[in-house]
Symmetry: D2
Subunit: 292 residues, 4 copies
């Protein structure tokens, strides 16, 4: 296993619990023989006590490991920035176990120590990217969880045609469509009735949002599929495409959004003993073994 010498540190601003874990991580890292780089928001939380400060993008160049403190939401942003650079990411969760951030606050020294000692496994998560035309310019953006085509307002229907690899699939009237990676299948897509998908699957799931017809169902397609959504004008509703519910762009009637798997993957680091099914059991309150 690769050893890590230059470690970046990012955090979600605002919560005292996050700050507490951030301090613990930084103290631990400083006690080890590694160089530590901190993103500005985290550095501010740490009172700028002399750390090397850099941007997420710079971490992609100068770090060989990035640690994110603060939950799955925090990981999404780091994932989008780091994936092109292939820098692995480790998540410290502020509270209960997350699907992406799976080091709990009370085990920071133990788990980060294991990882620095080379005792970890890497799980690759693919991202989705979309191409669309915004104001006459071609825009590309990516998401770790899901790309959504949706109405700008709740409870206003949009209408679009779906093509997969240039084959027409269906026309749909709904509030929108969630196009989710396996990683995103336990996030928003799950609330919308999608299946839970093992993160290693090479597959994309399409989950309709409040579809107008009763025969719409989640559809799982091969990871190599190219999806094209062509927005129609019949309801006159403002349509948007959004990425991890974070960045969003408008889409005009007649325009297309092309969605496919991104070439570079997020390398997510898990301490030893990690199991996707174990995290499901914990996060989704699945029943534990009868014999236990």
């Amino acid at each position: 296993m690769q050893k890590f010498n230059n470690v970046g540190l990012v955090a979600r601003v605002g919560s005292p619990l996050v700050l507490d874990s951030l301090v613990t991580v930084e103290d631990f890292l400083q006690s080890q023989s590694v160089n530590v780089f901190v993103e500005q928001p985290a550095a501010t939380m740490l009172d700028n006590r002399g750390q090397q400060v850099c941007t997420l993008e710079e971490m992609g160049e100068c770090c060989d490991l990035v640690i994110a403190v603060g939950g799955d939401g925090n990981i999404l942003g780091a994932a989008r920035a780091l994936a092109p650079h292939g820098v692995p990411l480790l998540g410290i969760n502020r509270g209960r176990l997350g699907f992406l951030a799976d080091v709990s606050p009370d085990e920071i020294a133990l788990r980060v120590g294991e990882v620095l000692a080379g005792n970890y496994k890497i799980e690759e998560h693919f991202l989705l990217e979309a191409e669309l035309s915004v104001g006459g310019h071609l825009v590309t953006a990516c998401a770790l969880n899901e790309i959504m085509l949706h109405s700008a307002s709740m409870a206003k229907m949009i209408d679009f045609d779906l093509f997969i690899n240039d084959v027409f699939v269906y026309n749909q009237s709904s509030d929108g469509l969630i196009v989710s990676s396996p990683t995103g299948s336990t996030a928003y897509a799950l609330s919308a009735g999608g299946p839970i998908m093992h993160p290693s699957l090479d597959a994309i799931v399409l989950v309709p949002m409040f579809p107008h017809t009763l025969n719409s169902r989640p559809l799982v397609v091969p990871g190599g599929s190219e999806l094209r959504l062509v927005v129609s004008a019949i309801y006159g509703t403002e349509t948007k495409v959004s990425f991890d519910s974070h960045v969003e762009y408008p889409v005009k009637a007649g325009e297309s959004v092309v969605i496919r798997k991104k070439r570079e993957k997020l390398k997510l680091i898990h301490p030893p003993g990690h199991s996707f099914y174990g995290v499901c059991r914990s996060k989704l309150d699945w029943a534990s073994r009868v014999g236990d």
Copy 2:
């Protein structure tokens, strides 16, 4: 493309519509330079007018193509028998388009002619197989659509533990669990709330049947997974495992059923122009293109 010289013919007994299509296929085949073999039930329908009669298993040895007349149900049995031999299968549907049998009765000469001329594509569908102990003997059986662990009676709960690759996943109280291939995802698993899965996916979907807890969801796992279901005794309900809702065996409390992908695949033949999404649109009444 492979040309076919020895063609087997099987049919679902009983319907005049099936007989009509069966006669059409046989007449067409006799007009071509191929040897025709007919399974006994179909031969009886055809009044035994001199065809070479053989069993499905013998067709696996002597035929290089088998044509099944009569709908998806009919294909399931042929698929289970032919998969080990690698003989490709073509389905003639008695009525509307099927997911597996996709030649319509009014195009028999055209489509079978195209196939015999080498103008076709082959789609591989994996089967699932299960190992279980029945009366002290190890039994192996397979299914194209789904293997189900279920209560012997409707509305009686069973209880079991699920392990995937020897990792404990969950304990479940329900009427049963559907373990479906992508091929089966548009059959019984769909009625139970499972997602639609493209047939080329290397994935297995687990769909709970009337689960006792509200947090159970369909789960899609890699095709290479080994599933182990361990039946518990807490409800005292008689438990069974069934294959394509056709063959079934009892499972006792404490016993395990191990389910995995079968090594040999069904080779399904489609005439040119076949599209899985097109069949979905037709069978599931998905809306057609706005522009049309």
Copy 3:
């Protein structure tokens, strides 16, 4: 049955099909011994050829029947305006059968004739009303289908507590909550997974929108229940309450929305032979009788 002497006419502007039916209705009414009143938008469509023009609210005073041309959406606005006055409403659908507008365009003379001759039935539909504080003023608004508490943006969670008759029911994180009348149960609530409810039921159904937890389910409560939704601030999302997806108001963190059945009901007129289950069968493509 009551005979009708003063008939109001309202229509959805814009579609040539609606105009065509509007002209047919007006011509038919003018041929009968009734006074006809037309709302301004419809009058404009009819080229203001001398009709008595008045507002929807004035129709509540001067008409004893109002006819709406143009589909269920059109009926919703008329229903909200007319319910306080108890004036019955008849809907002419521009195309296929609707749940509320159930006279088809090719039967206008026949069906409107039957109604004017006293051959009809009246179905009462209750409306929902909500009280909330907007800018320090108490606002009351009503809906025939549904009142929704929801995030101002798609895919942003809100959080609220639900009380029924002052008893705490649950805290929910979701994109919103649909509070639907039986009438609305075949509209947006159905897309969100709610049950179909017979319009005569004295019941309200609550359907969560993309709930964060997996154990949220539609909940049907007595029609006399008083619901109180108290918005919390934990996600910092802008929250709105909307009425039939038409009118909407902002709700601030800490504020409450109180929802109850409105005292006055919509009187909806159906020609003889109307059946709710028949409309379901037609609109939802339920299978017709085997024997047919």
Copy 4:
């Protein structure tokens, strides 16, 4: 409130926990000035130490209160037997709170004491009854939770026509149909995707089981509806009708099952402070108030 002088005692046989609670209840009752009657199975558990033993049916005549120990399942049988006699029922749950049996084992003396002192409320639950012809004889049976028409085997489709008040509603191919009272809406119907219904609603919910078409949805109809299910023969599957998953009868092709609300209701006793929504929150793990 009525005071109770003659108290019946019934229990589910077999569990040491049930026996423990049964002894506690009987000891408490013997310490009060009431006559105690015990059903034979419970008497056997209590070692026949001199109690007056009688059948459930006799309790309907001689008791003015019956106490059932052992969970919701136990209550169902008592409810079916006692409803015609109007004798109220109190449930002692062997473990966690139930929807019907809501006295917990550690509060037996407190809660039963309150009830004997006249401090309780009575909640009426209607039962469903069905009429069918069995071997040429008309049979009537009833259920507190649900009456189901279903295939005799899992995963075998049946087919039937539904009429409500003699109006044709739909034809359905499925594994069966659950016809549930509001009381049953939190039991099997909930596992099958039905809504949660407040027990005081005068409504019946119909929940399809694994329906063949994707446009089937739960349907809530007025409590006064008469449902008629006419079984067809197209799949040749053996069809049954069952009552609370307990008693079942075969139904032949062409035969009808007529289901309606039973005239007599179960009178269920709750100690003070009982709330349906509170039980939901506990049993279904709904989130508790943010402020708590």
